[in-house]
């Protein structure tokens, strides 16, 4: 079969029952997409198929022919080819916000975030959470992930990102009570 991954066409020899994730990891050596739960419950295997985040452990590799597949490894080279330097801005924002603790869920999460920002450059918190609702993270509590997406969005629009709770200590006693629904 021929698979187009990160802009390159690969000839791959694999049995029909191999999933796209297995081919990526164990035939093409693209180990950035991760295996977390075997059957589509966690999102760690998320790749972009024609720009859309999909679960690669539930896609047959043969079904991915004639589609453009982007894995986490493809973002930086694409960014550089487009005239940028270093990591893709979304990857960079995740790094800058501390969103990569163990990092295992992040190839999937970053791709979901990347696709969101491509279509929705200024997403609300709720929109970010909804877009990432298929990517389980066990380390961050999603807070720094949200901040990373907000940062990437703010940078692209040339504005400042929202402040983070630990950047300023709470007001001293006697100050007006804060709004209870401030987001982190």
């Amino acid at each position: 079969m021929h698979l187009t991954v990160n802009g390159d066409v690969h000839h791959v020899d694999a049995p029909d029952h191999w999933t796209l994730l297995e081919v990526l990891r164990y035939r093409l050596g693209l180990t950035g997409s991760k295996q977390g739960c075997d059957k589509g419950d966690c999102g760690a295997c998320t790749v972009l198929v024609d720009g859309q985040p999909m679960i690669s452990c539930l896609m047959l590799a043969r079904e991915a022919e004639n589609r453009a597949i982007t894995t986490i490894e493809g973002l930086m080279p694409h960014h550089i080819a487009a005239g940028g330097t270093g990591a893709d801005p979304v990857q960079d924002a995740f790094d800058q916000c501390g969103a990569l603790q163990c990092g295992f869920c992040q190839s999937g999460t970053i791709l979901s975030a990347h696709a969101l920002l491509s279509g929705t450059p200024n997403p609300s918190d709720a929109e970010i959470r909804d877009a990432l609702a298929g990517n389980l993270c066990r380390c961050t509590g999603y807070t720094q992930i949200l901040q990373a997406v907000q940062l990437a969005s703010a940078r692209a629009r040339g504005v400042s990102p929202p402040p983070r709770s630990w950047e300023t200590p709470p007001a001293p006693a006697g100050s007006p009570a804060p709004s209870p629904t401030e987001t982190a």
Partner: protein
């Protein structure tokens, strides 16, 4: 020993250049670009794939195992059973009751019984189906109360106390007297259910046995050093012929801190076949391996004066250990020993019993042995506040331990920021104007806790350092740090970079870290008990302060000035009194190498002697303690019983935030995990011992839409013994979330949730019970609804 290990809280020269900043991690971009190598990403030429055959029975004798048909299957290169690895092991030297593959009997569903190595996983799976095992079924122990009294058949035949894994009874002061004289006494039963780590990366190991007889094991482990020792012990190899490497790791939370079956099996199969072996768990297998939070049935009785001063606490705890010991001895102690802060109470007694059951083994999960008692006690403290008509934050304030004191069970408290933690959450949540005033169905709750920052004792008793690093200083200006520490995502490698760059006055990109490789790195005991930053941090400063004088002296001699004038600032060396003079750090390194020959230094850390002077007194003793307070805001849908947690304000005293962004990340992740355990997670088995739902679909962890807003508020108490004053942040911030939710639900709808998890069904049942109870008999609710 102790004086060597106190480096002070102040920056090494001038102001901090790196410490205290929200810096990137050393491995952040590697992870973000998919370049970081995790264990399953490793592939070696000729590598075979191993699979484990697991027991379908919870308790059974193995009568026979027939592997003859397996050996005939094309593509199978090795098959082993318990006979091939009979040596017992266990993380604690006193309770080594496990074997890599079952010998004689199986004790829980999913216990490994045999293993195969084949050309690919499909063949290995097919091979497993050809193995015939004959079992004789035995009585299955599910209810821990049964294991207390019934010992026939024993789960562990050689265990002296039948099905009782460990019993601890400790008493400090006269609790009975204190409670009988108390103005107010609250007593109750509390239950904490089983939960598991559910790290996104399943366990994986790759083993290679070279022609010269050196074994290399790559493993997703938190404890390279202990695995190293266990491999030598079980395989009968000299430890110096074994190398253990921890690649990048996808989350652990305590679930990867035992030596495991799959590690011994891959090593053994590599030795038998002469080929590299990989074994990757399925998600289901991770559930059978477990080592998660011990379910605890707890009974607490607390007394106080009418002013809210605690007079005594009496606890009885039944700990459900599952099939093997693991860290259980420690858990049994921790269940009582870790409750004695942040409050001061003069008398205390706990009776803690851990039993074996035929369920996946329990072990350390974030906040090991401490989260469960903390839940019970913080709810009971709120109940006491209700009886005394006192605000829940006020009653806590009246009982706080201060700094530089000793707890009732002999633990040394040094830095202590709990008062500020309570202040912060009080302010951030608008507590004083909002609690009790949000209307029926919405409420605020508070809870506080204390946790160890490293422990006093190594897992195997020895007087050697608990943490160590080695520095290599290169002419290029690069410093390489060899650190034994296990970076499991918490950032211990990043901390190494920040501290070395700080101490030696370098730019961040002049420091690189190689870690968790037993060939290259000195021994560090591992990532557990929140010890890495504290202990490795001190070891790093120790090493740097050995090498720094050489660097400074070499420059001073070149410039012919006093050493006090020489300062390294982010990679540039300056003369404080002559701005025209400077050189690069690389040049300084070369000068020093010329003068002192090849440069290098080691640094180490060991805890001072700590703990009470009684048997078990060191368990729970730590060189420093972190402190945490949470306030949470919830709403309760009284028609469905569902609790929605909207906000968690987390105030955590981490001593000094070496990197506030990483500290905040730990605080948020911890709080998220606590909320998940309170509302959603449930690790449970059927009556047969079979796990009810061993998948991430059925074992539910919150998605991004299920998680509340988490507000991290950092408190710094500048610990005198932590590296620059730093203490832990990885486990403490989980504890208060769970009781705070229960306490918030009380504020919202006037029911007490003492039984976890807080399912909608339980909430509805409690609401109905409250409706039916006679209103006149109830104490007046402090700030609660009608």
């Amino acid at each position: 020993m102790a004086s060597r290990d106190i480096h002070g809280i102040d920056p090494p020269w001038g102001d901090f250049r790196h410490v205290g900043r929200a810096l990137r991690k050393v491995d952040g971009l590697a992870k973000a670009t998919g370049a970081a190598v995790y264990t399953d990403d490793i592939s070696l030429p000729g590598m075979l794939h191993a699979k484990l055959l697991r027991s379908p029975h919870a308790h059974a004798r193995i009568l026979a195992i027939d592997t003859t048909r397996v050996r005939q299957l094309s593509g199978v290169h090795g098959v082993i059973t318990g006979e091939d690895l009979p040596v017992k092991f266990g993380i604690l030297p006193w309770t080594q009751d496990e074997t890599a593959l079952a010998v004689g009997k199986v004790r829980h569903v999913g216990e490994p019984v045999a293993a195969v190595a084949a050309v690919d996983e499909d063949t290995a799976n097919a091979a497993l189906k050809l193995i015939r095992v004959e079992y004789e079924l035995l009585h299955v122990y599910i209810d821990p109360f049964e294991s207390l009294s019934r010992h026939d058949p024993p789960i562990h035949e050689q265990h002296r106390s039948g099905n009782i894994s460990k019993h601890v009874h400790l008493s400090f002061g006269d609790v009975d007297m204190a409670l009988s004289h108390a103005d107010a006494v609250v007593e109750g039963d509390y239950f904490f259910h089983g939960t598991t780590h559910a790290a996104i990366e399943p366990h994986c190991a790759v083993a290679q046995y070279a022609a010269d007889g050196v074994l290399t094991l790559w493993s997703s482990t938190q404890i390279t050093h202990y695995v190293h020792r266990a491999l030598a012990h079980v395989l009968g190899l000299s430890a110096h012929r074994i190398r253990v490497i921890q690649p990048c790791l996808g989350g652990a939370f305590g679930g990867k801190s035992d030596p495991f079956s799959f590690e011994f099996v891959t090593a053994k199969l590599a030795m038998l076949t002469g080929r590299p072996i990989k074994l990757l768990y399925t998600r289901e297998e991770v559930f059978y391996t477990h080592r998660g939070r011990h379910p605890m049935h707890m009974h607490y009785k607390t007394g106080a004066t009418r002013d809210g001063r605690l007079t005594g606490v009496d606890a009885t705890i039944l700990v459900d250990g599952g099939a093997y010991s693991s860290y259980g001895l420690v858990t049994t102690y921790y269940a009582g020993q870790l409750l004695t802060g942040p409050y001061d109470f003069p008398t205390y007694r706990f009776d803690s019993t851990r039993v074996f059951t035929n369920k996946p083994t329990c072990g350390p999960k974030r906040g090991h042995g401490s989260v469960q008692p903390r839940f019970a006690f913080e709810v009971q403290l709120d109940e006491l506040a209700e009886v005394l008509r006192m605000d829940p934050i006020e009653i806590r304030r009246r009982n706080l331990l201060g700094a530089d004191t000793t707890t009732v069970n002999g633990q040394r408290i040094t830095s202590n920021g709990i008062a500020k933690c309570l202040d912060f959450v009080e302010q951030a949540s608008g507590w004083t104007t909002r609690r009790g005033r949000l209307g029926y169905g919405r409420g605020l709750g508070v809870a506080a806790s204390m946790y160890i920052s490293g422990t006093n004792y190594p897992i195997y008793p020895n007087p050697m350092p608990q943490a160590a690093v080695q520095l290599k200083i290169d002419r290029s200006g690069l410093v390489t740090v060899f650190s034994g520490a296990n970076d499991i995502g918490q950032g211990s490698n990043s901390i190494a970079q920040y501290l070395v760059a700080e101490e030696l006055g370098l730019a961040l990109d002049q420091v690189r870290v190689a870690s968790a490789d037993t060939d290259l790195c000195p021994v560090d005991l591992g990532a557990y008990s929140s010890r890495e930053t504290f202990m490795v941090g001190n070891a790093l400063i120790d090493a740097c302060r050995k090498i720094r004088p050489q660097l400074v002296q070499a420059v001073a001699e070149r410039w012919q000035v006093d050493t006090a004038r020489v300062r390294f600032v982010e990679g540039v060396v300056i003369d404080l009194e002559d701005v025209s003079r400077s050189m690069s750090a690389a040049e300084a390194f070369q000068l020093a190498e010329e003068k002192f020959d090849t440069l290098g230094a080691t640094g180490a850390y060991n805890t001072p002697t700590l703990g009470g002077d009684y048997r078990g007194g060191t368990i729970g003793a730590a060189p420093a303690y972190s402190f945490t307070a949470h306030a949470v805001e919830v709403s309760v849908d009284v028609e469905t019983g569902r609790i929605t947690c909207h906000d968690v304000w987390i105030a955590h005293d981490c001593g000094r935030a070496l990197n506030p962004m990483l500290v905040a990340g730990q605080m948020e992740g911890s709080a998220y995990m606590g909320v998940a355990e309170a509302l959603m997670e449930d690790h449970d088995v059927h009556a047969s011992g079979l796990h009810k739902g061993p998948s991430l679909l059925d074992y539910r962890i919150p998605t991004s839409v299920d998680t509340p807003a988490l507000h991290a508020l950092i408190v710094e108490s500048l610990d005198p013994e932590g590296p620059y004053g730093a203490k832990e942040a990885g486990e403490g911030p989980l504890h208060p979330s769970i009781p705070a939710i229960s306490n918030a639900v009380f504020d919202a709808v006037g029911i007490r949730l003492r039984h976890l998890p807080f399912t909608p069904g339980r909430v509805l049942a409690a609401l109905r019970a409250r409706q039916h109870s006679a209103p006149s008999g109830e104490p007046e609710l402090a700030g609660g609804p009608r």
